[in-house]
Symmetry: C2
């Protein structure tokens, strides 16, 4: 298991580097109407978890990416009694280990969707992967949405023929705001407690998800990289982001779990948009 943990954790860290480089390239390639701003660069901040382990937050505030956070973490220790019953395999033994990468990108252009990607490996007396990719456009476009879902379907098909149906439904169910009776975005894929008994197979799928994100999201961005927008479109983006805040603070399990277990607040709330409104 130690070998598996290291392999997963190293891979997440490496993916973090690749994605940060890729996003910095996009910043450099930009030639739209915000070129008075310098291309953004990631700033990195290391944090330690009092109970064991820690992570690295990378944040970039640029001209394409209004705010994008990439968090890599590797944490371990013992779960508090109140959480032992909430985490699979922890009831018998509170020892846990978890590593993952989490990305949330809020874009300057209201025409480019906000994007979220996460993959993680968790180990208690049980071991599993979890993760997903989902998109939150202010102005959903059918062509973009179907391109996105088709790419995700291809990734899921590398795992098995039924995963796309399962994981895209899971995503729709998860990213839903009941108090607004509306979805957070246009869906994507979401999976948890992935363990088919063949670690390499699961890991291989998780790698496809990570690489897939690095492949798909830049294509979506580049389609509209230098397009302009109106104040009214920006205003609508900020309202849509208000819903994003509502979802993350009221419903998101990761956020809740993090805050209730004294996680790193800055890393957990990195996902919140730079500006949001409730006019």
């Amino acid at each position: 298991m130690e070998i598996y943990k290291n392999k997963a954790s190293e891979w997440f860290k490496n993916l973090r580097n690749k994605i940060c480089n890729c996003f910095e390239e996009i910043e450099k390639n930009y030639s739209g109407n915000m070129t008075t701003l310098q291309p953004g660069k990631f700033q990195r901040k290391i944090w330690e978890r009092p109970g064991g382990g820690g992570g690295e937050i990378s944040i970039m505030r640029g001209r394409v990416f209004e705010k994008v956070g990439v968090n890599y973490s590797k944490v371990y220790g013992k779960l508090s009694p109140q959480f032992q019953n909430k985490i699979p395999g922890a009831a018998k033994d509170p020892t846990f280990w978890a590593s993952g990468i989490s990305i949330v990108a809020h874009m300057n252009s209201p025409h480019i969707p906000a994007a979220h990607m996460n993959t993680r490996f968790i180990s208690t007396t049980e071991n599993w992967f979890g993760g997903g990719i989902d998109l939150t456009p202010t102005f959903p476009e059918e062509k973009e949405t179907s391109f996105f879902h088709n790419e995700l379907k291809k990734i899921c098909n590398t795992y098995n023929a039924k995963s796309y149906e399962k994981y895209s439904k899971w995503c729709d169910d998860y990213f839903f705001l009941p108090h607004r009776k509306e979805p957070r975005g246009v869906g994507g894929i979401f999976f948890d407690q992935l363990n088919c008994g063949n670690w390499e197979k699961d890991f291989s799928f998780v790698k496809e998800v990570g690489k897939g994100f690095k492949n798909i999201f830049p294509k979506i961005i580049n389609n509209k990289l230098n397009n302009t927008w109106t104040d009214e479109e920006k205003r609508k983006q900020l309202i849509k982001r208000g819903r994003y805040v509502e979802f993350n603070l009221i419903h998101d399990r990761g956020t809740k779990f993090g805050l209730e277990t004294d996680g790193n607040t800055e890393a957990i709330l990195m996902s919140l948009p730079p500006h949001a409104s409730w006019p």
Copy 2:
């Protein structure tokens, strides 16, 4: 009890009218650098609760008040089984009745604190009042804070000599963000399950709280009514408002209760600021 319910509910509605008029007057009296905008006027929206009763939202977007919401409600019916054990006196009988007024004011000027006031009367097999007033400045000023607390102390002293100490501590404990290790604002008073056995005495205190807010907050506003501010001060106000959003969506019991019991989302989230940031 029906007479008491009507008396409380009518009084809350009447206070709503007085406060709305008072805030509209402030809008008219303004002569600072935002006079290109028209003085704000409250817009009213009636909502019905599917299970019984409803309320009236009054919202004003003005030049002094960037966004202020005043919600009056009178709701009744039966609590769902999951909430019967959370509400005093409801375990034996799920029938409930509740009426109240709730105000949240977010000001254009970063020098004028955001303010919150709420009073309510709730009846199950038990009956009680609850409420409070608290202030959230971006830039706390000792003189303003002590004026505010002194006025609240006078109000509490009309009830009994120990209430200020008790209710101001309760307020500090309640409006605290554990994940930020910081208070939401500079406190105020907070009380719940108020029932000394003499309904008229409790009601009389609640009326003092309502009238007190209508008296104190305009004084705080008028002290700085026409002052200007810098972009940097406004930026800090938006960050402070981000914390306000975090408190309301993660911790506030009223918000949680409202959203989980299918309350009116617009009325519940009326408290959120017009703009907030997490830069």
